[in-house]
Amino acid sequence: METVHYTQRAFRTLLNCFARPGTAGKLENNYTVNGLYAETATICMSLLDGEVSFQTANKHREINQSVHAITGCQIKSLEQADFIIIPHGTEQQQLLKAIELAKVGDLIDPQKSATIIIELDEIAPTITAQLTGPGIKTVEHIELAVGKELLALRTSKNKEFPLGIDCIFIERSGRVIALPRTTSMSEVTN
C-alpha cells in the first residue's frame, strides 16, 4: 500500500519538473537497483510497466534484468525503447549513441518518442545554461554537469517540434531536473 503513495509523490515531483523546466526536484530513494542511483529506480517504479519498453544505454544486462524485475517493463532495442536509461559511468560515446538512436515520434503521433533518464557523474556543474520555453516565465538559469556534445545532440533531436526527446537528469546528489522537448537551452559563458 505504501508504494502507491511513494510513486504518487515521485510523479508529482516529476510533473512539477516537467511543467517548470529548470526547477530542481528531490526524489525519495527507498529502492535500489545495482548500478543505478536510487532516484532512477524511483522514476522506474513510478512510470514503467509492462505496457512500455526501456533499454539502458550500454545494454547493461544486470540493470536491464533488475529494472524488468521490479517494473515488468519490456526490454527493447534503443531505437524502439520508450525509456532510455543512461546509468552513471556510461562512456561518453555510448551515451551519445543511445541518444542518437532514441526515437522522436512522428508528426501524427509525437508522443511515441523516447524519454531519456540520464544519470550525471560529475559532482561539480560543468556548464551554466539559459532556458526558455513553455513553463518558464522569462528565462531560467541552470547549472548542469553535462557535456557540450550532449546538449548539441539534444538540440538537434528536438529541432523539429513536436518531434523530440524529453530528458530527465539525475545528479549523484539526488537533484532532478527535467528538460522537455519544448525547452530551448543555450550555454552561458562567463
Partner: protein
C-alpha cells in the same frame, strides 16, 4: 474482497495516465491518447477530469471541484465525494486553499498560483471535429498544422452574424503550434489560460485524450485581423448580490417580478466577497 485502492484506480492505470500527462506537458496542446478506464460515473460526466485528478492526488492534497462555477451542484458534489471517499483528502470550496482544482466549464475568478493544478473536464477535445468527423483525418491535420477548418468555422459565424457566435470552447493556438479546444469554458476565461501561473491539465474520458498547457505558455484565441477576439461583454451589468462587474455573470429572471438580474457565476468567489462585505459592516 480486497479493499478499494487509494484514489480508486489501480497502479497500472495511474502509471498510464501519468505517462500521458507528462507527454502532454512536453507537447503543449497536443492530445495524447490514453486508455480511459471505466469509472463509477457515466462517460461524459467528467470521467476524463476525474481520472487525471485520481492520477495526481496524494494524501497531502486539498481538492476543489466546480461545475459551471458552482461548488455545490450535483456533478461537483458527486465527484468530490468519490475522490474524498477513496483518498480521505480534504476538500474545500475556497480556490485559494485547493492544491488541485477540478473544474467543468469555468476557470475560477481567483487567480491560480504555481502551487496549484487546474484539471478541466473535456467533452470534445478535437477543435476540428465540427468540420471533420474522421479522427484519422484530424490527426493528420494536426500533424500538418492544417487549421484552416478551425478558422473557417469562425469565418462562417462572422458571415452569418457579423461576429463569432462561438460562446464556449472557443479554439486557441497553444505555443504557436497546436490548435486546442480549451473545454467549454466561456470566452471570458480564454485569456486566463495564456501564461497562467498554474499547470492546466485537460481530461477527455469519453474521447480518451489527455492534454496540457504548462504554466507561462503562450495561448492565443483564434481571430482575424479585422475581427479580433472579444470576450463576453457585461457593460452596465453588475452582480445583484456583490455589485461586481469584472466577473463572468449569469443572467437570471426573478420569477415573481419577471425582472432580469445578474449574479456572479463563480459562487465560491461570490460568497467570499459577500463575507468580506459583512465583515466590513
Amino acid at each position: 474482497m480486497r479493499e478499494v485502492p487509494f484514489a480508486l484506480l489501480d497502479e497500472q492505470s495511474k502509471k498510464e495516465i501519468r505517462r500521458a500527462i507528462l507527454k502532454g506537458v512536453a507537447i503543449p496542446g497536443y492530445q495524447v491518447p490514453f486508455a480511459s478506464r471505466e469509472m463509477p460515473i457515466g462517460r461524459g460526466w467528467g470521467t476524463g477530469g476525474l481520472q487525471v485528478t485520481l492520477a495526481l492526488i496524494g494524501k497531502e492534497d486539498t481538492l476543489k471541484v466546480i461545475d459551471q462555477g458552482a461548488d455545490d451542484s450535483v456533478n461537483a458534489i458527486n465527484i468530490k465525494k468519490l475522490v474524498q471517499k477513496t483518498t480521505g483528502v480534504e476538500t474545500t470550496s475556497r480556490t485559494q486553499d485547493a492544491s488541485i482544482v477540478q473544474s467543468r466549464h469555468r476557470i475560477p475568478e481567483v487567480p491560480l498560483t504555481k502551487e496549484q493544478i487546474l484539471v478541466l473536464q473535456v467533452p470534445e477535445p478535437e477543435p476540428l471535429r465540427a468540420i471533420e468527423r474522421s479522427e484519422y483525418k484530424t490527426k493528420r491535420y494536426h500533424a500538418e498544422k492544417e487549421y484552416s477548418g478551425a478558422y473557417l468555422m469562425l469565418f462562417e459565424q462572422i458571415m452569418r452574424y457579423n461576429q463569432t457566435s462561438q460562446g464556449a470552447d472557443y479554439p486557441v493556438l497553444v505555443n504557436g503550434r497546436y490548435v486546442m479546444n480549451p473545454s467549454p469554458i466561456p470566452r471570458f476565461d480564454n485569456p486566463k489560460i495564456d501564461s497562467n501561473e498554474a499547470l492546466i491539465l485537460f481530461g477527455a474520458g469519453r474521447e480518451k485524450k489527455i492534454y496540457a498547457v504548462p504554466p507561462y505558455t503562450n495561448v492565443q484565441s483564434l481571430a482575424f485581423e479585422d475581427y479580433p477576439f472579444v470576450v463576453e461583454q457585461f457593460e452596465g451589468k453588475i452582480c445583484r448580490e456583490t455589485g461586481l462587474s469584472n466577473v463572468f455573470l449569469d443572467e437570471l429572471t426573478d420569477e415573481k417580478t419577471g425582472e432580469t438580474y445578474y449574479l456572479c457565476n463563480d459562487t465560491s468567489y461570490m460568497k467570499e466577497v459577500l463575507a468580506r462585505k459583512v465583515a466590513v459592516k
